[in-house]
Every structure is written in structure tokens, then in C-alpha cells.
Symmetry: none
Subunit: 251 residues, 2 copies
DNA sequence: TAGAAAAACGCAAAAACCTGCAGGAAAGGC
DNA sequence: GCCTTTCCTGCAGGTTTTTGCGTTTTTCTA
């Protein structure tokens, strides 16, 4: 059996059954476990499915929406979120980006926190509503559905009239030389406005984001005051950021 | 059974039942108590549920309240929502209030609808993100947490710069002589602005709202162009509204 | 405050996984 | 036709993840 044919059948099984067990598949296709595993690894790297221990789950474009991403919060993101919460203090005015890492921060805020939080994410706004001590300011705009964020000129303008103490930014790509990058052009303008409206700018970057770059440039690393990341990152990877004046925090 | 699958089912059980007993789950899923406990610990760590002695509860009280309210949507509200959907057409610009009845309307929209929807409810905005053909405009402001709505001067101003075809208004009190009333003062201003920015104003009123009045006055009944309500309402109760030029729709 | 239930902890076995390697098939150049 | 290169596959060995069990600790309840 050809490799392509096998992989096609794997995806087909996944579509019909909604899940897939690696060992069952090796029997059904009459190949070794390792071959199946290699196939699954390849397909996962190509983004055709989601690899899990024991098999795989579908990752169709429908499921790649925000709700699904929210569920697949990694351990790294949890650790970053936990560390980031320590930066937040009573009485502050805080600007919050959208994104799953920031959502985790919101879910870990102390129940009695007294603060004002400004956000252009309806999802974050809804999550913040459960904290009685937090005044929530929603920034409107045109909803960019893939990330559930308001964007556009109105959004940028609204942020520019705010003077916040802290800005929490979820990060897609962070590189000492390239700077902060993001895959969506419209959002880049908004992110710039958010960063310029806050005294301290905190980047939340789980391990896989460090040293990478995405399509559109947001700002140089020197614009950051803090970088919250995972404890497992080796020192030599963090030093370039320290040299640029960024304070590093881990859990 | 895959670990992810198991955890998904745990969350599902939690959503449907509103609570969860660890030992019951171990039987239902055919795994040991420890495995269930480990899963619950992980899910709690990721902020997906709230761990309690003996089992788990949904994490967010607000979302729980909202989920509950969404679930307890009465048959009347469903009927009203179904009827209201018929008023919506491709190409329209629609202003939408928050509230559970309006949320029901959103959930019943045709999947292929092409329209622009303006809302000051983050909850409605999130729900609308599911529809690829709908352009969503979020109106910002200060979040009034009890109803999950943006309010304030900025919100009023934002609405006043919009010219919509249709405005869907959830109703708290509607009376032929007293007019439209609402229990929250800040929102009254917003509602007025919403109504003035649309050619057609549609009131969504389930049976128990008709003939009642709440604390704060929004507008006279003559400001309405349509009233969507339940079929069971007797004619003599609807006639006063007809005389004021309101078109009445039922399911 | 005592007893029972639930949870946490440590441990070990099993399953799944990854890596490197070698045999074999297919493709292509000489 | 023959050799080289490339790719695919299965296997052996070591590592990681998951899971269930016994034990200890914590929590709840009467």
C-alpha cells in the first residue's frame, strides 16, 4: 500500500469516527505501529489532525475556531498565566489583549481584585464580568471573528485616549532582533495603540513563541518592560531580551 | 478511550448536569477513581472547572448564571425569537440589544445570512462570530455586568453615528399608555440611542412583559414599528398597540 | 472529636512513543 | 544492465506517559 493512500485512509477514518486509535489502525492497515505513528506525526505537522497520546483527533477548519483553541490550552500557557497574575495589583488600570493565554490570566485573578480593565475582546469582557471588584471597559470596533477581537480605526482611537498602568499582550512571535510580530495586519495597529497607552508592557509568551517571527511587525522588543515565559527556557535564550532592558518573569 | 476524549466528556457532563460526582464518573467512564481525580485536577488547573471535594462544579458563576438563564429561556421566548427571525433579511444593517430573547434570535439566524449587526453586548458579539456572512460591529463602553452590556456616554455616542435598518429590542416592560420601560437607568439612555438610529424598531416581548411597567421610561409605544410576541395573547390586549401604529407579529 | 469518605502521594507495570539503524523497493544516472 | 541515491518500512532499545493500587493525609459529617 502506498504511503499517500494510507494517509488518505487515516484522515478518512478520522472524519467518519471522530477519533482514531493508533494501534487499531496498524491492524486495520496491516502495517507496524511505528509506521502509523510516523504517519500521524506527519499529518499532525501538516496540520491535518491533532495528535494525542494513543491516537489522534480531528482538527478541521471548523474546529480551528476560537472555542476549540480556548480548550487546547497547553501547560505552558497555564504556567505563563499564573506568573503573569503576580504583576497585577489593586487599583491599577490594565489593558488586556484577547487570546487564550490572557483568558487564563483572567480566570486566575484574585476574586477580590479592585481594578479597571480595558479590553477589545468581547470574550475577555464576558469572563471579567464575574469579578465584582473590576470595572470593565469594552473597546468596540469591527469584530475580527477568528480571534474574537475588535479592530479598526475606531478601536485604535479609543485606545489612544487611555492611560493605563499595565498592558498584557499575548504574543505570537517574539525575536530579539525582529521584535514582536503578529499574523494579522489589522490587529497590529491595535496592538501598537494598546502598547503606547500603557506605562508597563507585559508580553505573555509560552515557550514555542520565543525566537520565532510572524508576518507583520508590531514593535521592537525594547518596547516591552516585562516578558513572562516558562521556567524551562534556557538562560542563553533569555539573555538577549535582558540586554534590551526587558525584565523576565517565570512561574 | 483517549484521555482527551474522556476529559471532553467530563466537561460535557458538567455542562449538562451543572455538577459532577467523581466516583459516579469513574463508573460511567469505566476507569479508576484516581484517573478521574487526575483528570479533574488537570481540568481545574487549566481553569475549565472548579474542583470541589467529591466532584466538580462549573467554573464561572456568571457564565453559569448566564448558561442557566439561557437554558431556562421559556417557551414563550423561543416562540418570540423564532418569529423575530423572519423580519431579518440579507443586506440589512441591524442593531441588536443584549438579553436572552435576542440571544435566541441570534442562535436561530440562517447560517448563510449576509448582514451587518451592531451590538453593545459582548455576549451577543461572541455568539455572532459563528456566522461567516455577518459583519459584527461591537459598541464599547463601561460594562454593566448584571446584563453584560456596554453602557455610558461613549456607547450612546457610538450608536448615534449609525443608521440601521432594523433595531431588535428585548423588552422588560411594555404598556400602551406608560410606554417602554426598563429597570436600569444607564441602559435607558443607550436604548433610546439605539432606537433613534434605526428605521424600524422591533420590540421582542414574551407574554409576561405585556401590560407591565418597570422603573425607568425609555420611549412611548409609538416609537415602535413592530411588536413580536406570543400567539396566545388575546386580541383585546394587542389592539391598543395596533391603534398606536405598531405592527404585531407572532409565531 | 471520631469515623468515613475523598484526595494526594509514591510506586510500578503497561502502553505508547521516539530514535537510530538496516533491509528492501523504486527511481534515475552512467 | 548496473550502480547510486532516495525513500519507505520494520525492528530493537531506551524514554516518556498513562494508569491502577496501596498508603498516608486531608476533608467532611455526625
Amino acid at each position: 500500500m502506498l504511503k499517500q493512500e494510507r494517509q488518505r485512509r487515516i484522515l478518512e477514518t478520522l472524519r467518519t469516527d471522530g477519533k482514531l486509535i493508533a494501534t487499531d489502525l496498524s491492524v486495520a492497515l496491516n502495517v507496524s505501529d511505528d509506521t502509523v505513528r510516523r504517519d500521524l506525526r506527519e499529518l499532525a505537522e501538516a496540520g491535518k489532525l491533532q495528535r494525542v497520546h494513543g491516537g489522534a483527533l480531528p482538527r478541521s477548519s471548523v474546529e480551528m475556531n476560537y472555542a476549540a483553541r480556548e480548550l487546547q490550552a497547553s501547560a505552558g500557557k497555564s504556567a505563563v498565566a499564573r506568573a503573569a497574575v503576580k504583576l497585577i495589583e489593586d487599583g491599577q488600570v490594565i489593558i488586556m489583549d484577547g487570546g487564550s493565554t490572557v483568558l487564563q490570566v483572567v480566570q486566575r485573578l484574585p476574586a477580590e481584585l479592585e481594578a479597571t480593565i480595558v479590553t477589545h475582546s468581547p470574550r475577555i469582557a464576558v469572563a471579567l464580568a464575574e469579578y465584582p471588584g473590576i470595572e470593565v471597559i469594552v473597546i468596540g470596533g469591527i469584530l475580527y471573528k477568528a480571534d474574537l477581537l475588535s479592530v479598526g480605526a475606531g478601536t485604535v482611537k479609543a485606545f489612544s485616549s487611555i492611560n493605563a498602568d499595565l498592558c498584557l499582550q499575548g504574543i505570537w512571535g517574539l525575536h530579539p532582533e525582529v521584535g514582536i510580530t503578529y499574523p494579522n495586519f489589522e490587529e497590529v495597529h491595535v496592538k501598537r495603540a494598546m502598547m503606547q497607552s500603557a506605562d508597563q508592557v507585559v508580553a505573555l509568551a509560552s515557550a514555542e513563541k520565543l525566537g520565532t517571527a510572524s508576518s507583520f511587525f508590531v514593535a521592537p522588543v525594547s518596547e516591552l518592560t516585562h516578558l513572562v515565559t516558562e521556567r524551562t527556557i534556557p538562560e542563553e535564550m533569555l539573555n538577549p531580551y535582558r540586554k534590551l532592558g526587558v525584565e523576565i518573569l517565570t512561574d
